[in-house]
Amino acid sequence: MAEKKPTGTVLVAGAGISGIKAAIELAEIGYKVLLTDASPQIGGILAKLDNQFPTDHCGMCRMLPMVGREYASQYCMRKGLYHENIEILPFTELKSVEGDAGNYTVELLKKARYIDTDKCNGLGECIRVCPVETADEFNHGLTLRKAVYKPVPHSTPQMLLIDMETCTRCGECVKVCPTNVINLSAEDEALTRQVHAIVLASGVKLYNLKDFEDAKSWAVSPDVVSSLAFERIISGSGTFDGTIRRPSDGRPAKKIAWVQCMGSRNRRQKRDYCSSICCMFALKEAVLAKEKGGDEVETTIFYMDMRTFGKDFYRYYERAVDEHGVKLIRCRVQGVMLNPDKSLSMRYFDSETQEFFVSDYHMVVLSTGQVPYETHQKLADLLHVDVDSRKLLPTDPYDKVKLVKPGVFLCGSLMGLTDISEAVGSGIAAAGQVSRFLSGLDVSLLEEEEIPEPTAKDRDEPLVSVVLCKCSEKMQESSVDFNALGAGLKRLNGVGEVHILDMLCSDEGKQTVLDLLAKSKCNRLLMGACHPFMYRKSLKNLAKKAGFAASLVEITDLSSIVHRGFFDPQPVESGKRDYTRLAYNDLRGHIENLKLKPALHVESLSINPAALVVGGGIAGMHAALSLAQRGVEVHLVEKTDRLGGYAGTRIEHTIDGLTPVSMAKDLAGKVLEHKHITLHKNCEIVATQGSLGAFETKIRDVSKEENFYLTHGAAIIATGGHEGATDEYEYGNSDQILTQAELKDGLATGEIDVGEAETIVMIQCVGSRQKEGREYCSRICCIGAIANALAIREKNPEARIFILYRDVMTYGFTEQYYTQARLAGIIFVSYSLDNKPKVELVDGSPVITFTEPVLNAEMQLTPDYLILSTGVDAEASNREVGKAFGLPVNEDGFFVEADSKWRPVEFLKVGLYVAGVAHSPMTLKDAILQAEAAAHKTYAYLSGRKIHTAHTISRVHDAICVRCQRCVTICPYGARSYDEALDRIIVDGATCQACGMCAVECQNNAAEIMGFSDKQIMAVIDAGLSKDPVAATPD
């Protein structure tokens, strides 16, 4: 007998968003995932954030799978995560890792919660009676909690636990618990698991105001808070119901200051790095403060460099300053002084006027960053590896998510603090790397769920079977009369049977139901139970086993009504609400709905398992190879006659020791050799049609002047970019004025000799970060300029090198290069957008005049060379490629991803992905990370697993459709199109998210979300309003 291969199993340690994303991506392609988190909850930092840049809303649910979404359940991610293939272990620490690549034994310690959360109803009687009060971690100590508490107030189901540090063991909670789930003598549980790969996603320790010396100049009042605590203060579910008040006395905070770089960019405290995300965080908070607190709220940010380097960050910054009036002051302040009236004084220097000012604030928010070394050292010890020279986990030089130890990957803030987009992107990329790694091992996938064929029974006259769970006897006594309820429902037209059971969630309960349903003649099923979030999946499986079509099963939260009745303090005699009636009307609504509901069936999409990659730069080649390695046929289309793109042909060395040109050569060699990759050089995209699994793209071979067609299941756009052009600063009028790329080339070829040069000046942000220009940061120019300056310094130690900048964008650990440059004697001088340096040609040579900001003095430089950092431009062909694929391109010429935070490499149209500079200017490592992520998203659909549409998608009633095409215009996902040849509106079932916009818009109900017809909705409303007696005489 052949031995069964083990199921590919992955440990994802850390359930913040990057870990969750990695877990979902792996689970979706059929691997078993263990998702652990050391804290009692999942969600990480994001559980605390109500509002995220740039929409200032939440959008966490958008990281869930888009196609066949019912199989992962689509719901609010802030409440929880449920996935068949993911075992979630909160409050579990990783204790040890032993073994080799592909065969790791991990020891986990599952800490005792003292509450059986599977059975807890989450209503919190225990919390009410607990006598202990202590600072609440979730609200950063701004509020109090009990010893038994909900770690995240909005999670569902409530994952309560008891904090034994503060618990007095008085036992009151045990007495009142209606479900008997509290065990004060529970113990931690040690678990040992075998896994094939590990993803580290634990995040890093964050700077806080308690543990660090340099915070003590600030922590003088409760009104000095960290940026995360401020997030809780303004949260609707936070400390003051979303109004902005200072913690000390709850009075409105009208003047708020943010202080940047708290704990970061500090050589003295051995933290010479930037924490990357704090500038945007502060801008967002300042804008939110204005929005929530009104215009009279004054917001001031004290900063050194406003690091708005990411996509759309600069525009947000402009809006914050221009539209919202957020004030920015470039000054690092020593500390804050607490005044007797509780206001907080800060003294700062205004360089422009060369004067000091003292300002009083109601609240001071410290933009606290990361303290990574401790976390990295701990993980390195656990993995038996050494930290690298940066004191961080040793990673592959090109792959940020790949550890040097095989089979171990990392994502999220372990790479340095990441914003949501990077965290999500790295989670996908890590999943991609794991998938590539596991594809080389002898492991199997979890079996795919069988989708049953439609049966004739579904089309019979509707007959509903009703199964109700009484939950706990203890509760139903005082609230819902189940006998009357059952009798009432049984009387209804179309109800075949009513079963009232107890403990449906137990194994016996399930068996009982199965036995009952096996005998049933009904073809529709309504189950009234508890915790539908948690049990929906298992109850649906039960129904499936009993032969019910998935779309004809409804599960409703009956327990909330029972519980509400139980806890309603009003005595029956003084007019307590009739909870039996409430339950009856609710259930009746479901019954009426079920009666009218058609049997819906999912469609198994036919998937062409080939991918198209547009662009043969490093990102494109990396993506192609990532897919090909996993057996996917790839067509790589490159418009020029050579591979490598901009970086792979122009950049020999980067400051962090990478060699893009030789790397590109290496990749090109692999691409050419790979049996799964077909290269199409000199080819342009003409047009594309089709949808996920079945695209057909017309391609023009420019050299042969002929067109041909490629069919593919998905595509990755990796069209790249190039150095920007300029005519500013006398560029083109002197051979002493060059761009950074020209300098780099000239230095490499020796055409430019800086050996004798006395002075070299570089100007940053040429044509960038301004209206009517590149209204974005190109992200790589500051580091590029520093690299060039250091190269000059090496050839000529005596030359004076000046870099005129607006904000030095050496975010994250690249801050070290800024420091390195200063140490090499390179002089950095800032200028402001409204007072740019002026360049004149005197006898053909550039003379630069500018206002020196520190001394506020006019200065002049006469350099041998003036070097301009002109930023990164999008490829001009992006617009045509965008048009061909029907993909949006922003005003800067970069592709617009589906969601800037939660779906960074996807387009709204399913099956199309973006990677690299086509998305926005980024570093080589980031481009590779995106390529890996895009490749993985592609692979998830092309891996050979069945891809189903959801039951619930929108459809068109052709007979009553007038083809006015309003629905096509309105569909935010581009799932609807008008087919001229057929004269019909077509719905792309994979792309449709059933948002319902078309159904709302369509005047005539020709657009309908299946299973949500007007008739059903009206029937539910009628049932909700029904007043007939529940049951006159119970049987």
Binding site: E213, D214, K216, S217, G335, M337, L338, N339, P340, S345
Partner: protein, 297 residues
């Protein structure tokens, strides 16, 4: 223990009652003091440290070697002397070349410097070596019912890695705990960590601004606390905060500023029952009220 007392210039010359207080109290607490015969200027930051390394470090070396010859650590009360000596020692201890040069220069004294001698501040000795408990036990009278505020000497705080002894230079507590050990209530105020304004060239080059600067501190004390006195442990702080109050009153035509200023050891001496005339007699702002309370108590 025995320590070599480095007095500097202001204390013995202008406020010898502080010297008296130190000499009176420390032995009572088990700290015997030896004199540094032939010591010279620390040197003050405005002197040799502002001209060249040689003259600065040679003077430091001169002083350090006196104590080193006795095999004793140095104890200082004056903040400037403490900081200058400690920084000088730090330079020498970490730079063999400089140490060699200094030894070359002080060779004529016949002394040799190995930088074994440590430089310690009197408040650090009281806090770490003696301890608040011992002080509480030793005193005969106390400050019960009196409110004090602290003026921490900047020179004992910054830069912490060279001069510091507090757990946190941003949240110093030694003087508070020592003062509380004598029964006083210590009030916090917003400008607690602000410099007295008396050291260096500031008060000479910008007298009006320097006075205004110190005024903000005194105003904060008056408005925010119930201070009966200010506790210092630096001769500059003592003299400056004491003398400026009279100036302020004269300039503003008020008597608003009348908070007596004491060196910590003076309060200690009073609580130990020493004669106020000897240990706390020289001042601008009258100290009678506080002294009377202590002696009466």
């Amino acid at each position: 223990m025995e320590l070599c007392l480095f007095l500097g210039c202001n204390t013995p010359a202008i406020r010898p009652d502080v010297e008296r207080a130190i000499r009176a109290t420390m032995p009572e607490l088990g700290v015997d003091l030896a004199d540094a015969e032939g010591y010279v200027c620390c040197p003050a930051f405005g002197s040799f440290p502002s001209t060249d390394d040689d003259s600065y470090l040679a003077s430091s070396g001169w002083n350090l070697s006196i104590a080193e010859a006795k095999g004793l650590d140095i104890m200082v009360q004056c903040g400037s002397c403490y900081s200058s000596l400690r920084m000088g020692r730090d330079h020498l201890a970490h730079d063999e070349e400089k140490l060699a040069r200094v030894n070359e220069l002080i060779e004529l004294t016949g002394r040799k410097l190995e930088c074994k001698t440590k430089v310690r501040h009197v408040s650090e000795i009281l806090y770490n070596e003696v301890g608040p408990e011992k002080i509480a036990k030793t005193i005969k009278k106390n400050l019960n019912g009196l409110h004090g505020v602290i003026q921490y000497p900047c020179h004992t705080l910054f830069p912490s890695e060279i001069v510091g002894f507090e757990e946190s230079p941003r949240e110093p507590k030694a003087l508070r705990i020592l003062t509380e050990a004598m029964g006083a209530t210590v009030d916090h105020y917003s400008r607690e960590l602000q410099c007295c304004g008396g050291a260096g060239g500031f008060s000479k080059s910008s007298p009006a601004e320097a006075t205004e600067f110190t005024k903000t501190k005194l105003d904060a004390i008056i408005e925010e606390t119930k201070a009966d006195f200010i506790v210092v442990s630096c001769i500059t702080c003592l003299m400056y905060l004491d003398n400026i109050q009279k100036k302020l009153n004269e300039a503003e035509g008020t008597d608003k500023y009348h908070i007596p200023v004491f060196d910590y050891n003076q309060l200690l001496a009073l609580c130990m029952g020493f004669d106020p005339k000897q240990v706390a007699s020289i001042c601008t702002v009258p100290r009678n009220k506080v002294i009377d309370r202590i002696t009466a108590g």
